[in-house]
Symmetry: C2
Subunit: 557 residues, 2 copies
Amino acid sequence: MLPTIATKPVSPYSAGLEKTPANFAALSPLSFLAKAAAVYPERIALIHGRRRISWAETYARCRRLASALQRRGVGVGDTVAVMAPNIPATYEASFGVPMIGAVLNTLNIRLDAEAIAFQLAHSEARVLLTDREFSGTIASALALMAHPPLVIDIDDDLYTAGGELLGQIEYEALLLEGDPDFAWQLPADEWDAITLNYTSGTTGNPKGVVYHHRGAYLNAVSNIISWGMPQHAVYLWTLPMFHCNGWCFPWTMAANAGTNVCLRRVDATLIFDAIRSHSVTHMCAAPIVYNMLINTPPAQGEGIAHQVSGFIAGSAPPASTIEGMERLGFDITHVYGLTETYGPASVCAKHEGWAELPLDERARLNARQGVASPMQEAMTVLDPVTLQPVPHDGQTIGEIMFRGNVTMKGYLKNPAATAEAFAGGWFHTGDLAVVDPDGYVRIKDRSKDVIISGGENISSIEVEDVLYRHPAVEVAAVVAKADPKWGEVACAFIQLKPDACASEADIRNFCREHLAHFKVPKSVVFGTIPKTSTGKLQKFRLREQIREETAMADAPA
Amino acid sequence: MLPTIATKPVSPYSAGLEKTPANFAALSPLSFLAKAAAVYPERIALIHGRRRISWAETYARCRRLASALQRRGVGVGDTVAVMAPNIPATYEASFGVPMIGAVLNTLNIRLDAEAIAFQLAHSEARVLLTDREFSGTIASALALMAHPPLVIDIDDDLYTAGGELLGQIEYEALLLEGDPDFAWQLPADEWDAITLNYTSGTTGNPKGVVYHHRGAYLNAVSNIISWGMPQHAVYLWTLPMFHCNGWCFPWTMAANAGTNVCLRRVDATLIFDAIRSHSVTHMCAAPIVYNMLINTPPAQGEGIAHQVSGFIAGSAPPASTIEGMERLGFDITHVYGLTETYGPASVCAKHEGWAELPLDERARLNARQGVASPMQEAMTVLDPVTLQPVPHDGQTIGEIMFRGNVTMKGYLKNPAATAEAFAGGWFHTGDLAVVDPDGYVRIKDRSKDVIISGGENISSIEVEDVLYRHPAVEVAAVVAKADPKWGEVACAFIQLKPDACASEADIRNFCREHLAHFKVPKSVVFGTIPKTSTGKLQKFRLREQIREETAMADAPA
């Protein structure tokens, strides 16, 4: 028995130290914009074609937007939707809409009219800002709706391929209605909603993921810390702002007082031109975008002497992508997350010792999902049933779970799905992974992408990783195919590089050299692989294709 | 009248999106330590003489401390005091004590027994960790107390000048009582107290400034952002950890997964040696420390090829100090704050254009108090009576006020002082300043340091700035002296550089060249200027000296 201290008095800290306006403010990324404008009013916030917009102007335009929306009756808890690419209006909406307590819903510009109409109705959107490029889809969507929102057109000069103005007023005219000195306010509670992002579910209706001011603030800062991002970065908008609010980078760039280089369209020439012209220092993208850069003729990248730092995420990057970008002189960091975690909530934090390793080994280490990002509380891999952690053996598969402030507020009007996602005090990602001995998480598969063949689990990612190493392969996707003997077998879909050729036998022989026999795809299909608007491979389509073929084969002749 | 949107529905965001353990965690800097240990277990966290302590070991030692204290009866809301210089034990206490919800009070090691006894009694400290070096003071302090705390000795090998062990157990033995895998918990509320810092008030009893976990977390991160600090910085502990918890840098360095270079004693040779041996990248200090480096023979700094980034604060830095450090190759950033704002809560954020300016003009711009730091909500200059902002004219004097999350919880057991400090929703600093046209705050004086001479205000800082430019002046302090004609006049106290000489007439003539006539000190006193333990000039002593001399002169002969 240790000697303890005699008496335990009442704590002197228990009273008289309450919150006041002097020592407590709601955490909100809106504060970053006010600061950037106050401290660096003349610095360039946005580059869009030949336009240059300073932080002072950006702040004034955001306040005009907030004020104009408020004058038209938009207020706390109202949804304002935006259908636009990475242009200043989308950036400005990231601040102007929440300045009045309204909630921004950036729509995926590649969705069809029905999906758009569903989301506008589900979110009860009161206003829609829409770029001329999408007037066809939007007109159809509005026609489907019983109570369409107020429509505001964005008439961007840089879009020259037509389209129509559908609404009552154009965006710039709307801004003129607003007060550039509008006295916006921080949210009453930092837990208040700031944005809404629908998950691009492959089946069923999409779920509306709600973010709050606190989480947006913290993830915006976390991006800076995990990247070791210096002030005044020049950020190229290759990642859509409609995808998890561009992983919170609209707010990050205000906190960083950097420069946003807008990009209406993801195109290798445009990207290399922007990097060269504006000395871009940072960008984010899915593996498919980086692969496009890798497969561009080297002349495109000429004249770029500085290093560009790239975040990669969206799907597990093949090691070959990380290798290829490193050869192009990029410094690539792999991050991982979901719509539900504000975009990236983990980072494959690098270690100094890795720099000495051979490129392929380094790429293998860097391709992992890594560890919780600086301001997410925890990422772990748990047995999905018992919620017990798996051993750090690089072998035992469990489900990746997150917990902390960079996890959504919940699904809009869907308490059952919210409760299910948060069961047991963790956010369940649905992604299966192992933990390596160094504590880094390594994804094995989406739950539904595991192929169970003769009682053995086959990770489709493992097989894809091998396929990507084949010199003729541009895109690879592996899915389960029903098999009378094995239950399931692996079926590989291959999109070859232009001018490359390979036979089914070539591919299978190559796999046999690098994989256990049971993991080798039993069939190989060549052709273009369908992708979602955010660059994810649409495996459900490949599965449908297999089912149809099987059904036809089984049909009576 | 603008057309508004027809009906305002009930917000869809108003229900079903509550906080859960999956999506809400208390903000606490303790999380940074757990992450540093998990991701970079082998990296060096602490260097102390020949000792190297990794992040894994540091985490284990902090958990041992927490566990051992808990086993001895320490718990939520109990105060644990530390009397020690910048050594590993002090660093570990910054985490180990709050891990069990207890509150750390780092004592100023230069205080006398009476002041220590007052603070230990006022904070109701239940445990005191004390370094052998201070056993004389501590023994006297304990003798003054009716209910002394449990005493734990820190027996640091690097201190070789004697001293005694006073307590029941030595620190390392205490750690052995604790569990290195102790399951600590985040605070129940991020608003819970984490530390207590007494202000080094010049009169009356000191006030106990209480910090909370939320503020400590945010200011730790704010340090990284405002410095653009890359990961894995090497931080030299020139700034005392007992001063506003080292401006929150113990926590910053965990968030940064960097290396802390301990320093028992501020000494130019030790500092240059540490910078050279450990490739120090960052340090913080008061102007007096930088002046010491400037006045060290150049040979001391030889062999240091890399640039060191320095935060300077503690008192307004003379432009000559910033100039001098720049000549030594340091990159100096001025920050400003008070104990009540967790140390620095504003930063003189640099602008690219300044780099082209002449050194003295650049130093003048860089010496200002600047703008609110990234995670403090606001700093402003208000009329102290009306709380209206002063115009940004560089002329109109008001009081510097802060508001936001990096402002103390309040004063311990002193609701009246807390209410006064937070009157009108702002924290009143007592510092007088103007706002320049670029929005940067520039301090003019402590309220009580303004000299009012013939109805004109004289800023003692302005006069001191001129005095520091005189080649013979090492330290200068200007205070008010009662004057039958003018009410008050400026009186200059001058500490000359070793081997330098200057007469009163030299000094006054020099001032006359650079200042309006009424601002020139009417008298000049040569000698050593007394400083507080944190390097602040003790102007109240100089005022006492003047009063005594005046009284003697007035006394009947």
